[in-house]
């Protein structure tokens, strides 16, 4: 039994979880840093408790403070969301030691999968195929460089360096030319140390032209471990997914069964409990290789929910409460696509952007789901991840889902902060996206010199006219409230050297 869930996260995933708690009739506790006061997620909880401290380390990553709040307010479960403490085995252990339910797998499973080298070895032993590559155990920079240079000759180019404790593209470097290897090792190690406090790196063959396909798994404490089909998340920028879909356009029933079985084996190898994702590279010849397992709810979980009809967060709550999962047999229907709206400048190497959400009008209508933690009037700050929202569509077929996504993106109006909306919109028109020939190199292949929007003269002329009319009619005076409702001197326009979103 669970009565009160503390959500140790913020933004859209906190909203997602808090709503699930509310729907499940559970009390919930939101925790928030000072700069998140008034955020949407703080309003969706039964109570919202402020965190003391200025940095992320002092707030959302502060295990002791979070456990104290949980104890003070009677939380009997903690949901970590994704990011932050979600894959910290020591936190999971501390939560359990405090007599609180940890909504996630055991600390042991997190540890086994969190360290990429251990995970690779565990998977090899369990008979799950892994990518050709080598683990580099060396801790000091010089030793690591020589070990990687040596290994690189066996692994072959192009190769990929990855932080052993990494995730989200941090500490990751692609190397095509041996001449760049040493600088790449240094950069990856530096970033890995800064982000994870662990400079270990491993090297593997870069399988170009492959698809990133991942399998959603669920395991309860009543002996059931199942998979919920796949998601394809090949389209990535800076190693971060921006366009995710289910099913994978090239999937067959047979391949799904084999990948699903491998994913279930992977989960069972670490006695997995809860929701998790086993990521694979799917080569163009149909071979697939284990990449890593994410021992938490995934950003892109909604596409699986849309096609399978499962509610993954509700299942997490059920499983953590010791109940059997409610999912029946796998029954995928139609097609779902998610795009991630980032506050970023797609014309300038996807550099994060900040500013006020002076206008934030999301599309509505059939087959559209928006998971967001922001609202019009909110400020996008450099404090956290620049993801503003996930726009998810469902339609009976992939073609119709793409049509729906185009329509939804055309209707989405965000003013005041540069976003990637137009980039995503044009992505939906790309030939390879339309035909499903997506792979992990798509964005750099299609826009090797960066992306710039294409628009007609008539659109540009109209926009100039609109600016002139807005100015003439004094619309900025009536809108003053909106643009200036924010404190602080942040003005993105002084500094972004290109202004096209």
């Amino acid at each position: 039994m669970i009565n009160t869930v503390l959500v140790a996260n913020r933004g859209e995933i906190a909203c997602r979880i808090l709503r699930a708690c509310s729907e499940a009739g559970l009390n919930s506790i939101a925790i928030y840093a000072e700069n998140d006061a008034g955020s949407l997620f703080t309003e969706l909880a039964t109570i919202a408790v402020p965190l003391v401290g200025d940095t992320i380390g002092e707030t959302y990553l502060n295990q002791q403070q979070i456990l104290t709040i949980a104890a003070e307010h009677g939380a009997d479960a903690i949901h970590p969301g994704f990011g932050f403490l979600s894959e910290r085995a020591d936190f999971a252990q501390a939560v359990i030691d405090a007599g609180i339910n940890w909504i996630g797998p055991s600390p042991h499973a997190i540890e086994m999968m969190g360290d990429k080298m251990t995970a690779r070895m565990t998977m090899k032993a369990a008979g799950v195929p892994v990518i050709p590559g080598e683990e580099i155990e060396s801790e000091d920079e010089a030793g690591m460089i020589s070990a990687i240079v040596e290994a690189s000759e066996r692994v072959g180019y192009p190769l990929l360096l990855k932080a052993s404790s990494g995730g989200g593209g941090k500490g990751m470097r692609k190397v095509e030319d041996p001449a760049n290897l040493e600088e790449a090792i240094k950069g990856a190690r530096r970033e890995a140390i800064a982000a994870f406090g662990d400079g270990r790196v491993y090297v593997e063959r870069l399988l170009t032209g492959s698809k990133h396909v991942e399998i959603q798994v669920l395991a309860d404490t009543h002996g059931r471990t199942i998979h919920l089909g796949e998601r394809e998340c090949s389209v990535q920028r800076r190693h971060q997914k921006v366009f995710e879909e289910a099913p994978c356009p090239v999937m067959t029933d047979g391949l799904r069964a084999r990948m699903g079985e491998a994913a279930v084996m992977a989960a069972q190898a670490v006695d997995y409990v809860g929701a998790g994702t086993v990521e694979f590279l799917l080569a163009s010849n149909g071979e697939f290789f284990f990449l890593e397992m994410n021992t938490r709810i995934q950003v892109e979980h909604p596409v699986t929910e849309m096609v399978t009809g499962a509610d993954l967060v509700r299942e997490q709550l059920r499983i953590a409460a010791g109940e059997p999962m409610s999912c029946g047999n796998l029954m995928m229907r139609g097609h779902s696509i998610e795009v991630r709206l980032y506050a970023e400048d797609a014309t300038n190497n996807f550099l994060p952007a900040i500013g006020p959400l002076a206008v934030f009008r999301a599309p509505t209508g059939p087959g559209i789901r928006l998971d967001t933690g922001v609202r019009e009037g909110d400020m996008v700050t450099p404090n956290y991840d620049p993801m503003l929202a996930k726009l998810i569509v469902w339609a009976p077929s992939r073609e119709e889902a793409l049509e729906r996504m185009r329509r939804a993106l055309d209707e989405f109006v965000v003013l005041g902060t540069t976003t990637n909306i137009r980039f995503l919109r044009e992505l939906c028109d790309n030939r390879d996206v339309v035909s499903g020939r997506t792979d992990t190199t798509l964005i750099e292949r299609v826009w090797p010199n960066g992306w710039t929007p294409t628009y007609s003269d008539s659109s540009l002329d109209s926009a100039l006219m609109v600016a002139a009319v807005s100015e003439s009619a004094g619309l900025h005076r009536t809108q003053a409230q909106k643009a200036e409702s924010n404190d602080g001197p942040i003005s993105p326009f002084q500094t972004l050297n290109r202004r096209y979103p």
Binding site: K170, G187, R190, A194, A195, R238, P352, I354, G355, P356, A358, V359, R361, P382, D385, D410, V413, V414, L415, G416, T418, T419, I421, R422, R425, P453, Y455, S456, S458, S459, L460, D461, S462, A463, L464, M465, V466, A467, A468, V469, S470, E471, S472, A473, L475, H476, T478, Q479, K482, A483, I490, S491, F493, Q494, T495, L496, N497, R499, Y500, P501
Partner: protein, 153 residues
């Protein structure tokens, strides 16, 4: 009414005339709706609705699924901002400085590496030129908008 705007680095003068409730620009017509959005009629007979919002000096305009950022400038004023200056896109820390004062660089050449929002950002030369001043050293904290490197011809 005449307005001077800057878009895409270029200055543009736009003059709109008022005709009752309508605004005119050549054969284009526009009208401000009661909720503050603007309906534009163009010569092809289509009418489209635009959203606009001014933040600082910049009009953000959404039309046809595109967003345009159009800076209102005072007629005759200097073209103020960071032309030729590489500025910090957000608060962060300098990780590496790759160039020195007086050094000749090519467009695209790496000038320095900074860390912000837990990612490394590479600041590159926008054009061929000469570095006239490097304002920060490795390890320095920079604020958003700080000019990192100044360049001349």
């Amino acid at each position: 009414m005449m307005h001077e705007f800057k878009i895409n680095g270029e200055m543009v003068e736009v003059t709109v005339a008022r005709d009752g409730q309508d605004w005119l620009l050549g054969e284009y017509q526009a009208r401000v709706l009661t909720d503050g959005r603007i309906m534009v009629h163009t010569t092809d007979g289509r009418s489209r609705i635009a959203h606009s919002a001014k933040v600082g000096d910049v009009w953000w305009v959404h039309i046809d699924g595109h967003i345009f950022c159009i800076e209102k400038t005072e007629a005759g004023s200097a073209d103020g901002d960071s032309e030729g200056g590489m500025t910090a896109p957000m608060p962060g820390k300098i990780l590496e400085v790759k160039v020195a004062d007086g050094q000749t660089v090519e467009a695209g050449e790496l000038l320095l590496v900074m860390e912000a929002m837990k990612m490394e950002h590479r600041i590159v030369a926008p054009t061929d030129g000469v570095v006239t001043k490097v304002n920060f050293s490795m390890g320095d904290q920079v604020q958003q908008g700080d000019v990192l490197v100044e360049m001349g011809e």
